[in-house]
């Protein structure tokens, strides 16, 4: 069947620009009928303030370790998942450009669709990456994901 391909994980946390085609091509497999993707992009507004970019930084080696744990969890939960690619961009990400691109292949679609959703939720909860939102007027805010368990509960 040409299906002796080993499942592969592709993790990248770097300043490189992201591409839907690139992550999609990394995971596509002859034995799979489905590729599901999630692309996180910079929004132009937050609570009425105009946003011009997001600035990302990471604890890179630990971010890679935490991503590997998530990918390992995905393989436990969805054993039919074939390849997984997670690319996270660092540095300045202007409005409409991508900060994160996730692609997952699987023989049938529900596994990759569910795995992508799990992956982005877990990434937001556990991977040591930070962004500040840069406003048009002036100033910035360090963001805090609601999924992060040690953030103060009363913060936005």
């Amino acid at each position: 069947m040409g299906d002796n391909e080993e499942p592969q994980d592709f993790i990248r946390v770097s300043p490189e620009k992201l591409s839907a085609d690139e992550v999609s091509q990394l995971v596509v497999s002859p034995s799979c009928g489905a590729v599901s993707l999630f692309i996180g992009t910079t929004r132009n507004n937050f609570e009425g303030k105009k946003v011009v970019s997001l600035e990302y930084e990471a604890y890179v080696p630990m971010a890679e370790i935490e991503l590997k744990k998530i990918l390992s969890d995905i393989r436990q939960k969805w054993p039919t998942v074939k390849h997984i690619a997670v690319h996270h961009r660092l540095g300045s990400v202007p409005v409409t450009e991508a900060s994160v691109a996730i692609a997952v292949s699987s023989p049938h679609r529900n596994d990759s669709l569910d795995a992508v959703k799990y992956c982005i939720n877990a990434l937001k909860a556990t991977v040591p990456i930070w962004k500040k939102e840069m406003y048009e007027e002036e100033g910035y805010t360090w963001k805090e994901n609601t999924e992060c368990f040690w953030r103060k509960k009363d913060d936005k």
């Binding site: 630990m62 994160v100 937001k124 040591p128 962004k131 992060c148 040690w150 103060k152 913060d155």
Partner: protein, 86 residues
């Protein structure tokens, strides 16, 4: 017994501490709370994130509390404010 570890600061914790990393001499056996107190006493502005910060010891999360931590020379200790990747 003490040892020298590398303390890393990220995002808001780096802004508050005013540095991105430093070497610190710490006890080889301590709790994460004592370790945090040592770091916060050196950089009092870090107190503003006291209730929503965790540490990473050798790139593994450790919440601030009474858990005993064993440190070795050269270990990485990171001050981790709430994350916002994605």
């Amino acid at each position: 017994m003490t040892c020298e570890v590398l303390v890393l600061y990220f995002a808001k914790s780096s802004e508050l501490a005013g540095i991105r990393s430093e070497n610190l001499t710490v006890p080889q056996e301590t709790t994460s709370k004592e370790l945090w107190e040592k770091i916060a006493s050196l950089h009092p502005r870090l107190r503003v994130i006291q209730d929503h910060v965790v540490l990473a010891i050798r790139q593994e999360y450790v919440t601030i509390g009474e858990e005993v931590i064993k440190l070795r020379p050269g270990d990485e200790v990171a001050v981790i404010p709430p994350i916002s990747g994605g």
